[in-house]
Amino acid sequence: MSLPIKDILNITLRLTITCLVAGFLMGVSFIFTNDAKKQNAYNNEERVSYSLLGYSGDAKKPENLKIHNVYRYVIEDDAVQYIAYLLPSAENEFTLLRISLEGEFVDQKTLQLSPAQSIDAPERERAITSALAPKHVALRYAENIRIVTLDNKLNAYIVNGAYPGFKTHINMMLALSKDYDILGLEILEHEEDPGLGAEIEQDYFRGQFVGLGYERLQELDVARKPIPDEYVKALEKKLADDEAQNVLAKHRNDDIYALTGATVSSRAVCNGVKVIVKRFAFRIQILNKVLQNQKIKTTFSEASSEL
């Protein structure tokens, strides 16, 4: 049965109008919600950062605790690659620092960015591209490092990273002390199986990483045996303080206990943490060397001698 041309046109017209109306409605709601959504995502990351440092719920954060956002980019310029750091240098001002792959200083430029603009990825990239103009470069965003200072002294680092899990990447956030000891681990996004791999979110799993030193971390392994009950209770903070301290100290040198039925996910988190910390320690030392040698001013300058 074939349709007369009039009906075909009628149907096409109606479908087009329906699509246009739907598109219009979605577009309008996107415009009204986008800024709030971005701000929420940023607030959420900030909240997670503070909770990793131990300031969540009732624990008020000290007033002189500041988080300095540093953004790392990879810049490709006529087949030569550079590492670029966007460092906060003053209010509404950032320094774009370029370092060669060998870790040598290349150049630095100052650019104007308000705090609201700096949390918006396209705004940041626009500012970087215009600072490097007229030369056209390919820009690739790598990561956001948060340098935490307390009374202008280096307090901690907060690092993001991803590692392949059972299905897709597991995104995690780590708080590290200045000697790269793990202060906290948060699993941000993952698609592990509910009830199995998704248990990596639980306190008793994440808590096993807290307090591990840099050296210990490099030889850390996943143990395929059940986790002792007292250890779980201590990690979930169900024990009295001094008792919990004893239990935690007793298991301090244990490997990470794999989750029941989710060895792959457990191992993915363990390897991810290892890799993220190792890479970060390597990069921050290079960055710090350049900052010291070139005497580059940043909002965390006073703390950077300890980096």
Partner: protein, 206 residues
């Protein structure tokens, strides 16, 4: 207008007589895939209620404008639009709820139950009846998901709503996807058996 039922009748039909999970056997994918805990069931159920009400309302309003040959694409577009809008609004203004419900809202675009209610009911009946039908079906779906989630969470991880009630894990099997089919199947049989027994009693009485 062919609908003979009162508003409360419409509500009750969605929850009991034509429960989308146990009677109509619609939207089995989420019922099997997501229902590992009671909380997941509640979240998905609430999300479905919202999308179902808004979509039914829209279709009931524009039912005379829809060309019969393109009604399915129109339903899909309507549902997709509402899912997107609800997703965006939740993400922007209710970030805490979104953190828990976000992934469930996006899933709903492909739900058979919503398209089916638009086709069977909203595209033929009045606006107010459609809203009550949508509410009834949504609540029915919520009840179904919570019931399945209850069994699976209790038997699979020994917990209810994240609270340890048994103190041990009876059978890990129950939170694996395959157990979803068993639980749904047995519960479906159980509810149909209750209905059969009830019908028989009613017949004997009359």
């Amino acid at each position: 207008m062919r609908n003979q039922l009162s508003k409360t009748g419409l509500l009750a039909r969605g929850i009991l007589g034509e429960n989308p999970v146990f009677k109509l056997a619609l939207s089995m994918c989420p019922a099997v895939g997501i229902s590992t805990t009671v909380m997941n069931g509640i979240m998905l159920g609430v999300a479905v209620i919202f999308v179902q009400i808004f979509s039914s309302l829209t279709i009931a309003l524009i039912k005379n404008l829809i060309h019969p040959r393109i009604r399915i694409p129109t339903y899909t577009l309507t549902i997709a639009t509402w899912v997107t809008i609800i997703d965006l609004v939740l993400a922007a203004f209710f970030p805490e709820a979104y953190a828990k419900m976000g992934i469930f809202v996006k899933l709903i675009v492909a739900f058979a139950i919503i398209t089916m209610r638009l086709e069977m009911f909203a595209s033929k009946e009045s606006v107010s009846d459609s809203i009550f039908d949508a509410l009834g079906m949504g609540i029915g779906f919520l009840v179904g998901m919570v019931a399945i989630g209850f069994v699976r969470e209790l038997l699979g991880s020994g917990m209810i709503l994240g609270h340890d009630v048994l103190g041990y894990k009876p059978l890990l099997f129950f939170i694996l996807p395959c157990a979803g089919f068993f639980v749904v199947g047995f519960m479906m049989a159980f509810f149909n058996w209750i209905e059969a027994v009830y019908r028989k009693k009613m017949e004997e009485r009359t």
